[in-house]
Symmetry: C2
Subunit: 703 residues, 2 copies
């Protein structure tokens, strides 16, 4: 590019203005930023060298063409930008270096707290879920819950046993997506992924709703029920106290996960173990009181008028509802690699302990509840049992708080799993790539925010009610179980590792049982909301495939092949649309002259008289450039310009049209509204045109 | 600019791909689009010439560098764009040529309908506004309304007489803004403008609310009151039937004005004259019935329990409320030029007729209402009187419909005045310039849309209640009256035209009276809402002045002076930020090579391994360009890049940094969410940097 001095009509002198740029070609660009001190004498002022020093400090030079940016480096920003940064720093914490990622290995004790809280905590609401269904058949029917609980506990042990197989077979993490994809094929992998993602969202919504219910139950037990009634009365109906509490919990967990608390097991251990000990005490004391005949309900037991007999259908529905207790059993199989060695053995042991605790708690609570004949009311069943066992005292409240805490922490399991699975899906091109990128604190921020947002929405839509949300829950859980177990059957058949036959049998039993439960769940809950999930899963799979197709197509188009290389340089001419001849548009013309030999300046005219004035000015100030006036009789600006660009483009179909737009940058944001958005609109209109490059040459207004 | 073939490592051949652009320099650009047929043989194919023909048809060549765009020309647009255009065409109508603007001259009959509907229609609600205040003093106190009406009628005649002076003195339009600015100075001009703009908004809100009330009153009279009660019960409280009706009316008037019905007096004449004849009949029949002793209220008259005596304060408040009847008197003074010659005389006559009709209607209605002892209730006063006079029959309903129509049309007066005044203000740089530009139908679209939006908002906030809105109304009206009359006093003193002394005295009396009314209005309505206006006017003036200062500063900065001319060409180097080496980024590099001799390609790296791969690819495909890797240990992309740009910039403070960004244009809009917004964010971040030009080189994804 030669910077020839085009002959010029009119007086033109080197400007002194801030915005004018006399060409200075003596300094050569130094992209490595290795300005040596010795050059100091040559440079015009001290300031230049000082600035160079500053940037040398900000960019450490490793090698030619290889710099490392200083971590704290921040471009100057406006007040909003700075406030946002400070706020983010306070809420989320200081950004972490990529190298700071540590994979802390977990002891069995911590792992139980992290991976087990989801499963164990389901004992807090599963009994109630089962009872609610039986209410229709009257008080006596409630007893069926205990037998249903026995059946579920047996199934749970089978499923836990089958997952122990997975833990040994997939020491690098055997989530259902992985197992199904590797053994059953991509389609089943995607079904499992869709089921799991939905499952995680439901885990958050249900656990948080149940945790909030624990708080309100405790308040009712403490005699502050009227407080909640009053607050609910003054709130809009879709925004009751439970919803507000739930949203606060979701906000806290979301922020916590954005901060990256994901693997800091210690803080989670406390409430989980408090809950485990408290629940154990509840069962033991409860049984002792029962055997000594001292166990009596202290909450009123409503006289339920039976509206239907205790049919098999009702029992199956109650079973489906109670089966949510099994959710979370798969969590450990995802996280085998974070256990201390021997990873698989420790994971399997933890899994067994977890399943045992869950089974005992669920059975015990169901037993105590049915013995007292408790019915679901404005207090949760677990709260009613705890009141009867502990009495209305400090123990009861401590237990309620532990229940609340463990339920909130159960949601946290999903906060670890959802972003991890979605990042894997994103890397496999089935979800937007943003789910795979790590935020300031190395967490998968997009997944965390998405999970928080969608479960908050669910809680608002379902008014924070566990009873409503739970209908949507179990389908995803058992679909994932079925696919995982079926995948494992194929796995054993293919690998024929040592002892594959017994493993295959165990997983086959697991697969058959889970598919039966899945069918029961789908059939009994279909009309209650499960249909939403049945509809959603194929839609999600369609979405995954569409996204995958898009990314594949883009990669195909971008791939470099010897026959598809762009030429080294391009044919190019510049077009400068102007509204007037002033220092901003002249500056754009100077820029256009610099980057192209062929420059056309165009004015779309809505007033002949103004056009004449502009033409005169063009002759004075930029007579060397071709100037075209296009009259627009209907006063449209964008359309004639866009069509004119097409007209030029057709003359040289292979050339780039470079549109040079002078862009005003106002000193204050609100001043933008005082200027027309022609440049922005033009940019939008030209996006559809191929081979049109748009340059915005900013003109900063000082005042 | 020389398109030298830079030596190039790796095999590079001319591409066949759609996105690759082999330079073709044989065809010279023809910005005049006068492709001659004789060139046909030379060109590669028929298609090119055909296209050239097409553009020759779209752009008629007037002279060298002077084209006229065909009116229908439209760049190809997506489905949304096309649907929007079709919809706009249906709703707003075909765009009009700038040359189609006609200034239709109005006969007195039409002018009375257009300019008089605002003033005359106030008689439909002024009596009620006055009565409502007196309710507090019991049924007997309501009689005071008649005497207040007499006082207002006398004042009205003085004001009308003083405006006749203005009509003669300012045949080219004597709006208060003009008169005050020319005679009292800029500050008073701006006060008048602020008062008038508020006044016009209030006219729309109050007239529309009163029009809706006419409809609901008629429904109540027809025995369908329960319909309205039921609908209101099922609607949210801020969205009652009146509000919905009002919003529909505003929507219709706004669309009508965007179509440009502004000066098509005929369709307005019908309801206005129906109203005038109907109201005249009401007064005459009412008086006859009264004199023959047959006039009796047919609506229930509530027994009002006096809560306070009939104090002077109450009378003054009632007067202030009734004084809104005088609003709209100034409308004709704005529009003198559109009258048929002799303009001033015809305008003055129309003004007199209008004031006389308004006075008679207001007095008559107040008389009949007080004689029957009517009190405001769920039906409007005018509806109650009409029921008593006409009976519950077709006449009554026709009258109600005419009332509704004239009130809606009264709003239309403001729709003519607000955009006109704001366009004048915009041309004087006191309001955003968009208010001065004409839309498709030559109407001032921004002003029309703004007026519609803000009055709709007011109607929602005040729940469509005339009684609440009216408190905000009169301040602006009388402030404008005062300034206009005072301005006229100065005018007569300065010009000393023939007969100036008597004119000065008339306007002086007008000024004194209007200032007294203004003070009464401000004092009595202050706490009821007038304070909002008192606060708003100085804020608006501050806004006007700030906008004016901004536009002046911009003009100063853009002004071309011999010492402030930008140089002919600029020093410039290009920076190409890349995420990977692929056909899109190579294309951006080709573009960068074309426009600059110095090109730096930069990759902000978050993975050392990927950076190494990209470096290798760069060596293969673009070894001639300087390549810099900047490691970002905290994974930030924008910040290190922005600071690096600063670092390069400091080396050549006078040079332009041209950032060449490859930009993906996806085939479907939703696919945008699958790509990171790095380019957009970078653009935003770089806006603050001076001398950084950003080029987006679009890469169109085909699939």
């Amino acid at each position: 590019m030669t910077q020839e001095s085009t002959p010029q009509p009119g007086k033109r002198e080197g400007g002194k203005e801030q915005n004018s740029l006399p060409p200075k070609k003596d300094t050569k660009l130094n992209p490595d930023l290795n300005v040596s001190e010795s050059k100091k004498g040559k440079l015009p002022g001290d300031s230049y060298v000082r600035v160079g020093q500053r940037y040398k400090r900000l960019f450490q030079r490793v090698d030619s063409g290889h710099l490392v940016a200083a971590p704290g480096l921040q471009a100057s920003k406006g007040m909003f930008g700075r406030s946002y940064r400070v706020l983010k720093r306070v809420v989320i914490g200081r950004p972490l270096f990529t190298t700071e990622e540590v994979h802390q290995r977990l002891t069995k004790v911590k792992a139980l707290a992290i991976f087990g809280s989801d499963a164990i905590s389901s004992s807090a609401y599963a009994t109630e879920a089962s009872l609610v269904v039986l209410v229709a058949a009257g008080n006596m029917a409630l007893n069926a819950t205990f037998f249903i609980a026995v059946a579920i506990a047996v199934l749970l042990s089978v499923i836990a046993f089958s997952y122990r197989q997975t833990v040994y077979a997939y020491p690098h993490g055997g989530g259902s997506y992985n197992v199904a994809r590797q053994n059953l094929g991509r389609a089943f992998g995607l079904i499992a992924a869709a089921a799991l993602l939905i499952d995680y969202i439901m885990t958050v919504a249900v656990s948080i709703a149940a945790g909030s219910a624990a708080v309100t139950s405790a308040l009712i037990a403490a005699g502050h029920g009227h407080l909640i009634t009053n607050m609910n009365a003054s709130l809009p109906s879709f925004f009751n106290v439970n919803v507000i509490l739930s949203l606060i919990f979701i906000g806290l967990i979301t922020i916590g996960n954005l901060r990256g608390i994901r693997e800091s097991g210690s803080i989670f251990s406390v409430p989980t173990y408090l809950f485990i000990f408290g629940f154990s005490a509840l069962i033991i004391i409860g049984l002792v009181k029962y055997l000594t005949g001292n166990l009596h309900a202290v909450t009123p037991i409503p006289q339920l008028i039976p509206t239907q007999p205790l049919t098999l259908w009702l029992v199956l529905r109650s079973f489906s509802a109670g089966a949510v207790a099994m959710s979370g059993t798969e969590a450990i199989s995802n996280g085998v690699p974070v256990f201390r060695p021997p990873e698989s053995k420790n994971a399997a042991t933890t899994l067994t302990v977890m399943a045992a605790l869950l089974g005992i708690f669920f059975l015990g609570l169901s037993f105590l509840s049915t013995r007292m004949g408790l019915a679901p009311g404005n207090q949760t069943i677990i709260s009613q049992v705890a009141l009867a066992v502990f009495g209305n005292n400090g123990f009861y409240f401590a237990f309620q708080i532990a229940t609340m805490a463990v339920l909130v922490i159960a949601a946290n399991t999903a906060y670890a799993d959802f972003p991890r699975l979605s990042s894997v899906m994103a890397r496999d091109n089935f979800m937007p790539h943003t789910f795979a990128s790590r935020g300031d604190r190395l967490a998968f921020s997009s997944g965390i925010l998405f999970l928080g947002g969608i479960s908050a929405l669910l809680l608002i839509i379902f008014r924070g009610s566990v009873d409503s949300l739970i209908h949507l829950y179990a389908v995803g859980v058992f679909l994932a179980f079925t696919l995982s177990n079926s995948g494992m059957v194929v796995h054993w058949w293919r690998t024929r590792e040592k002892g594959w036959k017994s493993s295959l049998i165990i997983n086959a039993i697991g697969a058959v049982l889970t598919v039966i439960i899945l069918i029961i769940v789908v059939v009994t809950k279909f009309m209650l909301g499960a249909w939403i999930i049945i509809v959603l899963i194929p839609l999600l799979i369609g979405l995954f495939l569409t996204i995958h197709r898009h990314y594949t197509a883009v990669a195909d188009q971008l791939r470099l092949t010897p026959e598809h290389l762009p030429p080294l340089t391009v044919d190019q001419f510049a077009l400068v649309p102007i509204d007037d001849v002033n220092s901003a548009s002249l500056r754009a013309m100077s820029f256009a002259r610099t980057i192209s030999k062929e420059v056309v300046v165009i004015h779309i005219s809505t007033s002949a008289e103004r056009a004449e004035r502009i033409k005169k000015k063009m002759e004075t100030y930029a007579g060397d450039l071709k100037f075209v006036i296009v009259e627009s009789p209907l006063r449209a600006l964008i359309q004639p310009l866009a069509v004119y660009i097409d007209a030029l483009h057709e003359q040289r179909p292979n050339a780039f049209v470079t549109i040079v737009l002078p862009e005003f940058i106002t000193a204050h944001w609100w001043e933008r509204f005082l200027h027309s958005r022609t440049a922005e609109n033009l940019l939008q209109a030209l996006k559809k045109h191929t081979n049109v490059a748009v340059v915005s040459v900013p003109y900063h207004l000082e005042k």
